[in-house]
Amino acid sequence: MSLDALIPSAIDGLMLGFVYGLAAMGLTLIFGVMKVINLSHGPIIALGMFVVLLLSQSLGINPYIGLIAALVIGLAFGVVIYFIAVDRVINAPELTTLLATFSVNLMIIGVGTAVFTTSPRAIDIDLGALRGGGITLRGTQVVAAVVAILAAAALYGFLFRTRLGKSIRAVANNRAAAELMGIDSRRMLALSFGIGTALAMTSGALLSTLFSFTILSGTTYEIKSFVIVVLGGLGNPTGALVGGIVLGVLEGVTTVFIPVSWVPVLEYVIFVLILLVRPSGLLGSRA
């Protein structure tokens, strides 16, 4: 094994890590605001992929414009899911919300496999490549990372600089107190679910420009999101982005040393260990 292979792999992983992080931010935002683990996260990521695919195949729309469509559709879809499946059981024990969101997962997969079948799809896009210092970066990879960073920055701007974002943070902090301040907490919860869904669909849209996919592909990224979210601390969006980068780089680098098929073993062992040792995540305060 050579160190020459190490740096390109690390950079590869880093690029991908931002996209992972974006998906995980969606999951962690929802958990942070309403203590719900969204088990429909994976299929929603897959839907993001299919939005881009359908728009580019049937209407010839550029995948990066399709991305914006995925974002908007995701926002609306998330609000709908919230009111149908989550709103009624928002204060119930975690099993109830886990199963409620899982039922959404089943419905999306059910309709998705019926409509799209499970045959692999790919978006035909090539933006050339950046070369330099023995490192080659695909254009799509760079754009995906940049878009993911911009989306994360936009989320930050929204959460910390706007009144609506501050209201969401207030609801996450203490729902009762937020209501006493005149915030309609139900609307904020729905909006957060929408934003979380939009982030997941956006990351799915980005992933569709990098890899081939099926309607079932979301599951892999869902479990990766779980790992990332736990790395960064459940409910902490900054942590999710950092966790995404850590996971991406880890995936890239470890393949230099161990066979690719062992990487998931390492990932899940780290996942369980972090849950046990530092449930608040790497960035969180000591539990």
Partner: protein
């Protein structure tokens, strides 16, 4: 007033045993296949109910024990030509030991963190077995047909697997019943309601939870050994299938969480419904969608599940249906 206790458990076991001999008496092989699956699902759902329904810990990746039991038993039969019944027990004991080992640390986690940890453990185990060459790696292992010769041919082997699965299911139900009626069961339910209060009244939650987890891991391991013995093939994605894990949670909730009869009713209804949907040409494609819709309706509106609903609606039933 004299307390009359309805003979719930004997009645239930006799009823299920009668159903179990039906395909034998009528010599109906396809019915036997269906019931084999149903008894397996009853085993999985009833076991998960012990840790989830009684104790309140949502073990999302519970299928890991089904996979471990299946793999170890299969490997013993495959490499050493061990007898199936011996291999099944030899597969289930390590599975229970593993449950004790991982249970001690992860049962300290509460709520969503525990659920996530069990998913992580299942995925880690699946990824590990995929790479573990003695267990056949990603391809898994498959029997040479001649292995069934020791049991009088494939037909008799399938028969043996069926009887074993029935016995395992009935044993699970009996265990579930006795746990629920025992002081130990009371301790579990106290932990479910409020762990801190449970400690105050003298329960050792850490120990009780690990016992419950070990009990709930043993039977799925036996079921896994039996299932893959009959199947003749074992591979990682089939043995550690998270979807099957979640399906058994769905069955518990559908039938009635925390009751003895609930998981049985849930497993039967779920399996019947799936069979109906798959064979119905109109619904075949939307089978998963309808399953999801049904789950959502139950979760949102019939929180107590079918058995729970009946018990709440008709209080006299409470002394008859546990």
């Amino acid at each position: 007033m004299r307390r009359v206790r309805a003979p719930f458990l004997p009645a239930l076991l006799v009823l299920l045993a009668l159903i179990a001999v039906l395909p034998i008496v009528t010599n109906n092989a396809s019915l036997r296949e269906e019931l084999f699956l149903m008894f397996m699902l009853i085993t999985l759902a009833s076991s998960i109910n012990i840790i989830m329904g009684y104790t309140g810990y949502v073990s999302f990746g519970h299928i890991v024990f089904f996979g471990i039991g299946g793999y170890i038993a299969f490997w013993l039969m495959f490499t050493f030509n061990a007898h199936f019944l011996l291999a099944a027990v030899a597969g289930a004991l390590p599975a229970a030991a593993i449950a004790a080992l991982i249970g001690i640390p992860i049962l300290r986690l509460r709520g969503a963190y525990f659920a996530l940890a069990t998913i992580g453990i299942n995925e880690a185990m699946k990824a590990f077995v995929t790479n573990f060459e003695p267990f056949g790696g990603a391809v898994g292992m498959f029997f040479n047909f001649s292995i069934y010769g020791a049991y009088g041919g494939a037909r008799d082997a399938a028969q043996l697997a069926y009887y074993t699965m029935v016995v395992v299911a009935l044993a699970t139900i009996a265990t579930s019943y006795f746990v629920r009626r025992s002081k130990f069961g009371l301790a579990l339910m106290a932990i479910r309601e409020d762990q801190d209060v449970a400690m105050v009244v003298g329960i050792d939650p850490a120990r009780a939870k690990v016992y419950a987890y070990v009990i709930s891991s043993f039977f799925p391991a036996l079921a896994g050994a039996t299932f893959f013995f009959k199947n003749g093939i074992i591979e990682p994605s089939h043995a550690f299938d998270l979807l099957r894990s979640i399906e058994s949670l769905v069955m518990v909730v559908l039938g009635g969480i925390g009751t003895v009869a609930g998981p049985i009713v849930g497993a039967a209804v779920y399996e019947w419904l799936r069979g109906f949907l798959i064979t119905n040409p109109t619904f075949a494609n939307f089978q998963l969608f309808l399953a999801g819709l049904l789950l959502l309706v139950v979760v949102l509106f019939v929180t107590a599940g079918l058995v729970g609903y009946l018990r709440n609606r008709f209080p006299p039933l409470r002394s008859y249906i546990q």
